[in-house]
Symmetry: C2
Subunit: 489 residues, 2 copies
Amino acid sequence: MSYLPIQQLLKTAPIGTTVTVKGWVRTKRESKNAVFIALNDGSTINNIQVVSEAGQLPEETLKLITTGSCLAITGQLVESQGAGQAVEVKISSVTIYGTADPEKYPLQPKRHSLEFLREIAHLRPRTNTFSAILRIRHALAFAVHQYFNDNGFYYLNTPIITASDAEGAGEMFRVTTLNATKPPLTEDGKVDYSQDFFGRETNLTVSGQLEGELGAMALGKIYTFGPTFRAENSNTTRHLAEFWMIEPEMAFFELEDNMNLAEDFLKTIIRYALQHCADDLAFLDNRLKEEEKTKKKEEQSELGLLEKLQFVISNDFVRLTYTEAIDILINSKPAKKGQFQYEVGWGVDLQSEHERYLVEKHFKKPVILTNYPREIKAFYMKQDTESAVGARGEVFGPTVRAMDVLFPGIGEIIGGSQREDDLDKLTARMHEVGIEPEALWWYLDTRRFGSAPHAGFGLGFERLVLFVTGMGNIRDVIPFPRAPKTAEF
Amino acid sequence: MSYLPIQQLLKTAPIGTTVTVKGWVRTKRESKNAVFIALNDGSTINNIQVVSEAGQLPEETLKLITTGSCLAITGQLVESQGAGQAVEVKISSVTIYGTADPEKYPLQPKRHSLEFLREIAHLRPRTNTFSAILRIRHALAFAVHQYFNDNGFYYLNTPIITASDAEGAGEMFRVTTLNATKPPLTEDGKVDYSQDFFGRETNLTVSGQLEGELGAMALGKIYTFGPTFRAENSNTTRHLAEFWMIEPEMAFFELEDNMNLAEDFLKTIIRYALQHCADDLAFLDNRLKEEEKTKKKEEQSELGLLEKLQFVISNDFVRLTYTEAIDILINSKPAKKGQFQYEVGWGVDLQSEHERYLVEKHFKKPVILTNYPREIKAFYMKQDTESAVGARGEVFGPTVRAMDVLFPGIGEIIGGSQREDDLDKLTARMHEVGIEPEALWWYLDTRRFGSAPHAGFGLGFERLVLFVTGMGNIRDVIPFPRAPKTAEF
């Protein structure tokens, strides 16, 4: 290539040589003797300072060099006289690729609200905050692929368009090519999907797990990493209609292997980000500190972003059963003072407030909860043969070999389980929850032929990016968020 | 983990130690003195041979050990006495995880047709051919991520659900949550999409390019790698309704940089597969040789699979303009003998027969064609300022800075271009081809603010997997193909 990305230029810094840099103007500052231009090409959060002597550039050129304009600059790389950067480029020539009318360009050098930037999601990657987030998102995605590749997993692209509802849960998006106004109908007035593209009703997948299990029962260890969809009408800071999921499935793994994998996986990925995104994380760490300052003292986080990430990778995750967690919650201060919004007792689905109490107040560490009540978990989870026993000897059950990994500030970041590998138990459970075994004949075939213990988990990628970037709204960690009434760009 | 994947076991081969292997029975063979079981766990195409002395295992256990059953075996790793393997495991104990009734299990140890295996896509990864394909697919995907990561590209997840038709081309799948039988209508009888989930009509993306350009104009170099969709009713060996696309976009790249990247990218990825998938490729190379033997002599390939891959990585791709290619085609034997089905002349869209003639007969090398007629290419391609000149001085035009990479047996494997970065030219072209500039206001903003030369290309991932595995049908290189009337699993 005929130019050097700024990231490489700053790393190698060939002082004294003539270099060409290309990028977008972040700021321009004029002093009596010189003009200083901060140029950024997106390869790093760091700008390169470009300097021209006063009067060197024609006035009409200088006028066009405004925030957002795009330049190619050739000049000598020299040690910088000013503070804030080690090197700078002394301009010998400038090409203006594209201007950015200051009257019209929305990204002026001032603080913009995240809400405003969401409306111009096509331009926000040109800001420090969003370019940092997207580079970190890239690094995390790469670390995911590298981790699984290093550990003998095969990447399996499970289908996006599916004729089955993986968990019998969640509202789905219909995929169709039928006439929208007047779809063909059957004699009894229903839509005649036999005339649709796939010859049946199809939806966007909510999970690749069931197909992932097919892969694991042939290749041993597989993972998926692709888009999944929920047509839930939730306008929250934690939900997207389209998000990326990571779902490993492993033959011969039992619950404990699954927990070991989940913990090692998360720590390795986060360690990778700390090692490879130091500048971007430092920027976001600082951003979060500034934001925290605007909060009341008692609402401020105890740990900064970098401290929180270091903390997660250097501590063992606490592992306990759902039954033990319920005991702790029942005996907790907030429960006794009636401060929980939702009541706690064996059998309830834990709410975010409960999960966060366990992680942030009680253990102050990431937590893995296991062996949940069967009734609040999916049909495919392996049924425990022993009952759960409470602190005072109470007998509870039935439970399943589920596991949820809970993180500070996020709550559930991973949900998984050992899978039911017994054909009869699995079929019986499907009948109980109202899923037709015939509809999943291919899934049951893995239990019919060469069944084996196996396990897996799912991780919403954006939840992980939220955690690592310290952002507060999930719409800010995916380039073009999809949510109710939101599909621009 | 409490067991060693067979791939690692064969690599490290700790002779004399006690090991536990887990996997599925491929074959069982009984001799007078011993029982030989070939076990495979999907980690490699190689089986581990497990041996028990005659009479060692109870008859009722032995009966359950059939093709497809799943076992855990503990025993001593010893040097093999037989031919065909270096080591084997002398059984000391067996656990049967899951049986596979020979009367019902579809995958018996005999040759199954690819057509039959397509109907049991949930089980076909348990065969040598499909496990090899899926491991190679994994390796290629990983190599893609590694290549871009090593070269300073950021992975950008462009949206799957989109309100825009990226190229104004291709039929799309509608995504909706409206009542299927009786959708809400506006006063003039059209579907009232304002009541749909996203408040507008939405479809599955056909390309992430336009959003990819937004990323490149902020982060410098980005790539997408995700599912894309075409609702075309084509039942061919080359088309899928759902397939994975790789789309890099680079700020400051012009046409030649784009060609250099495409060539280096393809060679690096293929070289990676040769280095990391030697056993699987050797198996498929052999499979193809056997298949070729069944063909007539004149229809057999000149090169075997491995030879073909070696050939691609060790030769420069031939680069020429569309105009030069047309000259060659007009003067070719098949044109003069009237053997082409479609006539050739400046301005026509090249057919597969023409592309394959150039690649397989004329140059016998991969070919990059550039500077295509504007009228047969997409609106966003950069317009050439000079006319094309034919061999006899004829003047042709207008042309655009497009490039297509043509591969033997595949035809177009990559299509790309430098992008039009001039706002006025781009807007004028959109009007000409009937695309409302207002609908793509955000796309045009990249030309309005800080425009720059940039380029990119698209690669259908399954086409690459087809090429590297030597398979003939694209439905055999994706785990669960989606095509007209095909959405099982």
